[in-house]
Symmetry: C2
Subunit: 287 residues, 2 copies
């Protein structure tokens, strides 16, 4: 954030939800000159920064900073929210029960958001996200999928000619030979297209070939039935560039696609990349 | 096969399990001069080639050809078997109940083979393969995983310093917050390493970041808990080059990584690529 301020300030007028005391602590620890002209919304609180250590005070502060930013967005004081990664275990230590930003938006702020990750070339929307694999097949219900696809189509209205919907099982079930869920997905796709009056959704696309080069020429948006089905190929292809988007009704939010990377936190490592951070801001500016 | 004979013949002494009648039919249909000096093992049977159409006679012939090749390998008349793709529905129409080559090797020939796919840069071994997603979590049992990992370690003995074992759930379960199976995998890995007397296996590696560039620098062999977890990222990265290997006890077999591609069958399409075919032969020659 500190190293990217100059670039960001050329794209938009950023307000940072952090107080001056914490900002100074971070600059000292990183041995960086505090950038001039950083406009702050001073989130209350402070703690000693212990790089790479899971800590309840850090968890609490990152949560409070996020909540402040969302409130500014709801109040119309900012156009969008960009978030940096949070540590789920730090949140948990601070007594915050949400598993991530998207869940806070859904449950605390009642914003009906779809989690989507991607880069310039391709995006993946998740039908289910942070649930165990054993619960995924139980979530494959025709009406739930139709509902999800209709919402998605509304939220990305007109941006995509054709959206690929992945199957659930190997080879999309090989015509019912490997599980029956893909038949349900197929009916959900047909009925959604009929309801929308055009062939917006295609599939069920066979999961293990959905992301090969030839398929990525045809589709730029993919619906994955579960977390790793979409995110593993996406991150294999373009990890450094990936951003995370909450497609909401009230709140416009994008985030870096990576985690806290505690192994290189505050170490000025060679592996540091701000590409995803800059991409997330660019996405919000363009939206 | 016809277009690659000259290249293949420089790598090994191929024997083709097809009879001269069928070979001539294919050459005529493709308008290709039959290569000189193709040594044949004349698999019995013939049928009219109807390109891109699922057909029981074609299914039967492709099965018989495969069985002939395996028998030649078991009898020591050839060192290895290379296979081209088969169509599962054609097999099914011909009354052949196996879902693929690997299952024939396991069930008909009693060869205890592990399915592995990959290219020069990376390989993925599948702990489960052609089963529905809903059955995958039930297959996560400590002793079964230990058994699989010990077998794999034997079969690739010494070729890899460290082998990555993927978790099952998003974020490998986030310490038990998203499903409990990853804890079972973790124990299986620990106990296998203890039994082998060295740290052969690492993990559970978080599935959605297992195949990012940085991780692929550390690992060249990955164990996926299920089909698409490993094959979707692999094929996204290097589809054209991917080969399929059956790591067996009695039979040495490699195959192209792609399917029958009926949409471009016998069309001399631009999308035709023999890279995977050549790679599979190279793999066998080097093994």
């Amino acid at each position: 954030m500190l190293k990217s301020h100059e670039t960001i300030a050329k794209l938009c007028r950023p307000i940072y939800c952090i107080n001056d005391i914490m900002l100074n602590k971070a600059c000292r620890l990183l041995d960086i000159q505090k950038p001039a002209n950083m406009k702050l919304y001073e989130t209350v609180g402070q703690f000693d920064i212990d790089p790479g250590v899971i800590d309840r005070s850090a968890g609490r502060y990152s949560y409070d900073s996020f909540v402040d930013a969302v409130r500014l967005n709801i109040q119309g004081k900012v156009d969008a929210v960009a978030t940096l990664p949070i540590n789920k275990q730090s949140w948990s230590k601070a007594g915050i029960e949400y598993v991530g930003h998207t869940q806070v938006l859904r449950e605390k702020f009642g914003d009906n958001s779809i989690m989507m990750m991607g880069c310039v070339d391709m995006f993946v929307a998740l039908y289910t996200d942070h649930i165990p694999i054993k619960d995924v097949p139980k979530s494959i219900k025709k009406d739930l999928i139709k509902n999800f696809l209709c919402q998605l189509s509304q939220k990305v209205d007109g941006k995509y000619d054709s959206i690929a919907v992945l199957g659930l099982n190997p080879h999309s079930g090989d015509g019912g030979a490997i599980g029956s869920e893909d038949i349900v997905i197929s009916h959900a796709i047909e009925e959604t297209n009929r309801q929308l009056g055009r062939e917006v959704f295609a599939g069920p696309v066979v999961p293990d070939v959905a992301f090969i080069y030839h398929s990525r020429q045809n589709y730029k948006l993919f619906v994955a039935m579960y977390h790793d089905q979409g995110l593993a190929p996406l991150k294999a292809l373009c990890f450094d560039e990936v951003i995370n988007i909450s497609l909401g009704d009230k709140i416009s939010r994008a985030s870096v696609g990576h985690g806290t990377a505690y192994d290189i936190a505050y170490k000025n490592s060679d592996r540091l990349s701000n590409t995803s951070y800059i991409n997330s801001i660019k996405y919000l500016v363009d939206s």
